[in-house]
Symmetry: C2
Subunit: 223 residues, 2 copies
Amino acid sequence: MTPSQAAPPYRATDRTVPTRVRERASHDRELVHSILDETSVCHLGFVRDGAPVVLPTLYGRVGDVLYVHGSTGSRPLRMAGQADRGLEVCLTVTHVDGLVLARSAFHHSINYRSVVVHGTARQVTDPEEKRTALDALVDHVVPGRSSDSRPANAKELAATAVLRLDLDEVSAKVRTGGPGDDPEDLALPYWTGVVPVVRGYGAPVAADDLDPSVPLPAYLSAL
Amino acid sequence: MTPSQAAPPYRATDRTVPTRVRERASHDRELVHSILDETSVCHLGFVRDGAPVVLPTLYGRVGDVLYVHGSTGSRPLRMAGQADRGLEVCLTVTHVDGLVLARSAFHHSINYRSVVVHGTARQVTDPEEKRTALDALVDHVVPGRSSDSRPANAKELAATAVLRLDLDEVSAKVRTGGPGDDPEDLALPYWTGVVPVVRGYGAPVAADDLDPSVPLPAYLSAL
């Protein structure tokens, strides 16, 4: 890729430059997207009655926009809809890649890749964007699935609220590699290294009431 | 277990009884502990300058107390230390167990087990409790590891801040089972079922500078 084609990094702000271990932080757009696209569950934080709330929830991505959804009756969705100015959120996605076992307890760590997004989530009111967002949410769980399921009908659309969060104030943080023991500890007689954490999919389990003539789609056997 | 020996459930509060899908929520103490003990990374939420912040971090558990730690220079640790009344947090742990593919886009879901803890985190100042907490943090990553590594020395202890969060206002939420399609969708020609999400460990990778005469400990080969 020539430099002119490279996606520009996200801007650095006070909230997205860590106070510590800065070399692990990045604003690289492609790195951020790759971390976001590897799973479909994030942890969404918001403030209710002055106190923090962190809930796991599904999300989808369309370019530089994330979408989360929920019942129109759920608390964060109601809060974002009530407030004209939206709901301030922090959306975080983390992959744990390895357990880092140093000789010293102090240098034990985790290999991980995380993305933290700060911003204001706003309810999506445009029907076209809402449909696009819901497709993105389903396709984020399993790519290709939205076109192989029944789309939401009018009643379901009305019961579902979608929040939009622009990727603007966002950063990634990555730790890789082995333990970082101090020189004076290198001769200690403890095993040291990394235990990889692996994540994958088991064989799909068909629902009891699935018509046996319906084949397993290629996008699932390829997972 | 006889009823008299059963651990009592956590109390239900406004914050730990969901407004929706209440049948998925539980205050069962053993269920909460089992979810907490299955991983070592949580998402810790707090409020900074009025806005939510959610960061992944390691935690340990000792009975009904959780511990998180960090550099004395890190922002949440500094905030908890500065404020005499501690730092209001929400600590959330989530396991994704399966992708639930319904015939309708609307009924797509995730099988998961999560725990949400609300409370005030306070800096641990007692040296004995601090040591216990740090051992618990290491043992939460790999059971048995704290006694097979060099304990923190005085300088490391001074550089590490530990926060204590009592398990009091806490709940679990669990979704299991297959898709819940509406009766009128049962004949639609889409594959439906659950794709299990599996998580495990790869073979431990020794550090380059490990003395080859140091054997892999049993607590690691048993992972």
